[in-house]
């Protein structure tokens, strides 16, 4: 209006608060120390199986292990949702290279000499 002299003093200044970005489960999160490296490390310590005759308790142990790991990595998602998201990420190039590397690591040395 007239009192504002066209300087825009009357107009409400809009303070737009940026939304907090939503955490995403993506490649970098999966490859971060809390992701697969942690899974690999803790598996060695925590994943002890009873073996033959205890298949279903072993399976439960395995599933729980993954559930806890996923809960630490990405607490929002339920187990089934998280698994399907990770499975999808597995098709990305970067992850495929890493996955191959992890498998190569444990291959016997004879094979390595061969190539």
């Amino acid at each position: 209006g007239a009192s504002g002299l066209g300087l825009g003093l009357d107009e409400e200044v809009e303070v737009s608060k940026k939304r907090q970005p939503v955490a995403k489960l993506d490649e970098s999160r999966l490859l971060s120390p809390a992701g697969i490296p942690r899974l690999r490390r803790t598996a060695k310590q925590n994943l002890k199986f009873q073996g033959k005759g205890h298949e279903f308790t072993d399976a439960a142990r395995l599933l729980n292990f993954y559930q806890l790991w996923l809960d630490d990595l990405f607490p929002r998602a339920k187990l089934a949702d998280g698994l399907s998201m990770i499975e999808k990420l597995g098709h990305h190039r970067r992850l495929q290279i890493m996955r191959r590397e992890w498998i190569e690591e444990e291959k016997p040395r004879v094979q390595m000499d061969d190539t």
Partner: protein, 738 residues
Amino acid sequence: DAVAFGQGVQVVDPEVRAHVYSLVTALGGFNGEDADRYVLGDDALACLRDIRRWLKLYDEKYKRMDVARCLGEANLINGDLLPILSLWGTSGQKSKYMSRIALACLELLVPLTWPLEIHGEMTVNNHRHTPYLQHAQVSYKRGLLSRGSYNLLRTIIRIGLPSMAIPRSERTMRDDGILKLMLYLLRNITVITPNTRLAAEGDEEETSRSATINAFQAQDVFALILTMCSNIGDDFNMQDVVLLEIVFHLVKGVNVEKLFMDDAQRSAKHTDELDTLLKQESSLRREYSKNAPTRHGRFGTMIWVKRDDAKVSTVSGQDVLKDSQATFQKMDGSKKWNKPRPRQRHEESTFNNDFSTPAHLNSVASENLRMFVEEFLDSGFNPLFTHVRKAIEREANRVVPINSRQFFYTVGWFLHAERARRARQQEKQSQNEKPLKELEPDSFGLVASVLNQETFVFLNRSMQTSFDQKDWEDLNAQMRCFTQILLTVQEMAQSSLDEDQDIAENIQNRIFYEETTHDRVLAIMRGYKDQGFSYLDACTELAHVFLRMLERYSKENVDLQVRSRARARRKNKRAEATAVEDNNDEENASEEEDIMEAERVCRERKFDFKRFAAKFCNQKCVDTFVAFTKFFRELDSGQLKRAHRYFYRVAFKQEMSVLLFRVDIISLLYKMIKGPGALDSSKPIFKEWEELARQVIRRMIKKIDQRPALVTELLFSKMNSTLFYLEYGHEKQTLPSI
């Protein structure tokens, strides 16, 4: 005065309404001294024609539905047309004037009962009127099926009878038109179903499939259909497609096995089903009570779950004290966020042509429909389906796209019915300890018309087109048809007649000779993605039946040859790769010709079942079966067996159990056995699944110990390059390329 909401809104132009109402009023009524007798107006015939004209020149021309709506609100059909028809049926058949009026009524009935579907090209008016009209149509159907003791359907057939009696060569256009009207009305009656989305009114039974079938039986509609079907090609020509539609809408969704049970078996089956349901419920309750709190709701238990790095999670509730598995489920279940699902594409409505929804029949209707089905198989099957196939292939004018889907579904359904009937006959014969007379074994001639080369070519081509164009519903019908053909042929091969065996041998050879068929089944299997349960059921069944039959057939015929095209193409690609360095345009052109030529060249080669079955062992196919198995609570034992056999084949016959080593699959297997909501442990199929799950898990645990990299790979679908190593622990031995 307060006006009710929406009271003042005019949905139809008032002038149009006034015109239409005045025509309906002038048509006649129950006035006068004889109050229960319909009296025709002076100009009734002209009125009927005018109404017809309104429908044509206003509704159809401007794509509105206003007149139809007005006619519905004015209760034209139940208030006027049906009384007029019953008047004609009881007394007026001699009078020429009355016959013309009856025909004019029929001319109005057909468009007013025409099936309505929501589709892409609807105007605002259409959207406004469709729900009302759908509702009105149900009441039309109710009137047509059950109007006191008047047999309206029989009356309607009587309108067509004179035209039917004339030999085909002498029939005029008008006669053909009358036949068409009569059949389309019958078709419309079979299509109309109460809308399940509207609130139930309590009298759905009167317009159900059972009611339709019983009325068709009582008023000789079945006899008419059978007569026309068995004389198609001779006396009738243009009526094939509409007859197909009637038959399709009668049998869609009907369970063949249940239909061919006798009453005792059926009630036993119903009792069984009830029993299963009750058991399910009680096991559900047992499971709940196992985990139910033993104290009151505010007892307030809370526990800590100790985790790594001195972290804890808190979970509340007493049930978690008992069992650590319950704790984990509760931790998972209390999360609120759900992964966003991709939005479903808005499909064209297939409500009227949907065959995936099961239809339930009462016992009288089952009996009637079974009689019709048996007579149809005996007389009408071959002529009708040969004729319809030719019409569809020729793309005759009367054929619409939906007919092809109806054709395949109906053929598949009747093949299944024929097998069920044979099984029942055999059962009966074995029950009679001494057969009264030496029964001649029936040949499969009754269904021969769909077991010829022309049908296979048509089916194959249609399957390929539907697959390429992503017409999933069509493909669903075609897969069901193909599965039934395979099963029929298999049964034929075990027939006691030498001739049947020879023919079956021949057909199997033709089916399995084309490698493109093998590849198609595989491609369908691999290509599943959100097409719905019915499709999933059809494609897993096809793959199952196809693989098993091919396995048996290739065992019996060790030197089975297949016509392969892929190899020629691959060879050419290699040639192309070597020639790629010195390419100029001219060479390219000639090379393309070469490729075309090479693609046309088909080579015969020896079929190797092991190799073919191995193609089914990949992540895509496993995913399809996993998607299917996720419905395990709703699957019957046949379907569970199908999935079980597939996983068994993957893990143990083909030695690719590593494909199953994925956390979600293990979780599914675990859930099927240990719950919550596990399979019913008293069923024999449970034992099989338990054993399978146990073996798979055992192998997985062993593998994890041998190859720790599996801990990460368990999260993902396996890569082809590392699959072999993960399974066997060494690289594939291949000859070094020179």
